[in-house]
Amino acid sequence: MSTAAHALSAGHAPSHAETQTGIPNGKLAMWLFLASEVMFFTGLIGAYIILRMSNPAWPGSEGHLSVPMGTINTLVLLCSSATIVFALSAAGRNQIATTRKWLLLTIVLGFVFLGIKGTEYAAKFHHHIYPSTNVFWSCYFGMTAFHAIHVIAGIIFNIWVLMYTFSPRLWETRGHRLELAGLYWHFVDIVWIFLFPLVYLL
């Protein structure tokens, strides 16, 4: 098994990593970055909740949000979380072709999510609904657009790691970044897990 495959086995740190914490620097850095992202999104979501609770005449979506489309988008992201963890698992078994297949599927699912979100945005604009329409739509566009930017960043990260799978030399030395891409992707999924019910269901 290659060094990268050892590193990725069962989603754990590279065996060659010798740090004070016992955690590879890259992985610790990613977790610290995700911690800062938790603060960022909690600020956005917290502002939405406070605005909503302090506004006696909350405008709401007034039937302009499709729960089925939101549900499908959530299903897509949950599936993509599973596919990237399967990619990591396959990498741990040194099955590069399988890793590439799962990673590619994750990227495709990311694009599907953005496609559905883009369709929803287009429908809103068609009905002359913009961020300036009222406080609900300001929050909706603000939160979902920032989330979509993170999805785009995640897709770029995943494509970057996918490129490594085509080069045995790069995969050997940099393949462990798949775990970092996975952590970021799961975080994006978790954010949507909370955004979806807050905006679409409640």
Binding site: G11, H12, I23, K27, A35, G46, M53, S81, R93
Partner: protein, 94 residues
Amino acid sequence: MSATAHSSDKTYTVIWIWLMVLLLAGVGLAELKVSKQLIVGGVLGLSTIKAVLVAMHYMHLKTDRRLLAFVLIAPLVLVGLALCVVFSSRLVRL
């Protein structure tokens, strides 16, 4: 494929099924004609369970070093404190 890797894949699949079930349960709960508080509590509770499942199993917090869990908990504590301050304000009508 090693036995360990195979059992991991099985766990990942079971978690994925649970995530699907919990999502559909949340959507179904939101459609019920019951009190708003019950729906809000139930739906956000189900979302929290989904997030914990993803963090514990897909992000491997369950088996990784405890330090990483503390890295995640630290901002949540800060956020909790911030929310306590905000919700104690008279501007927010609970």
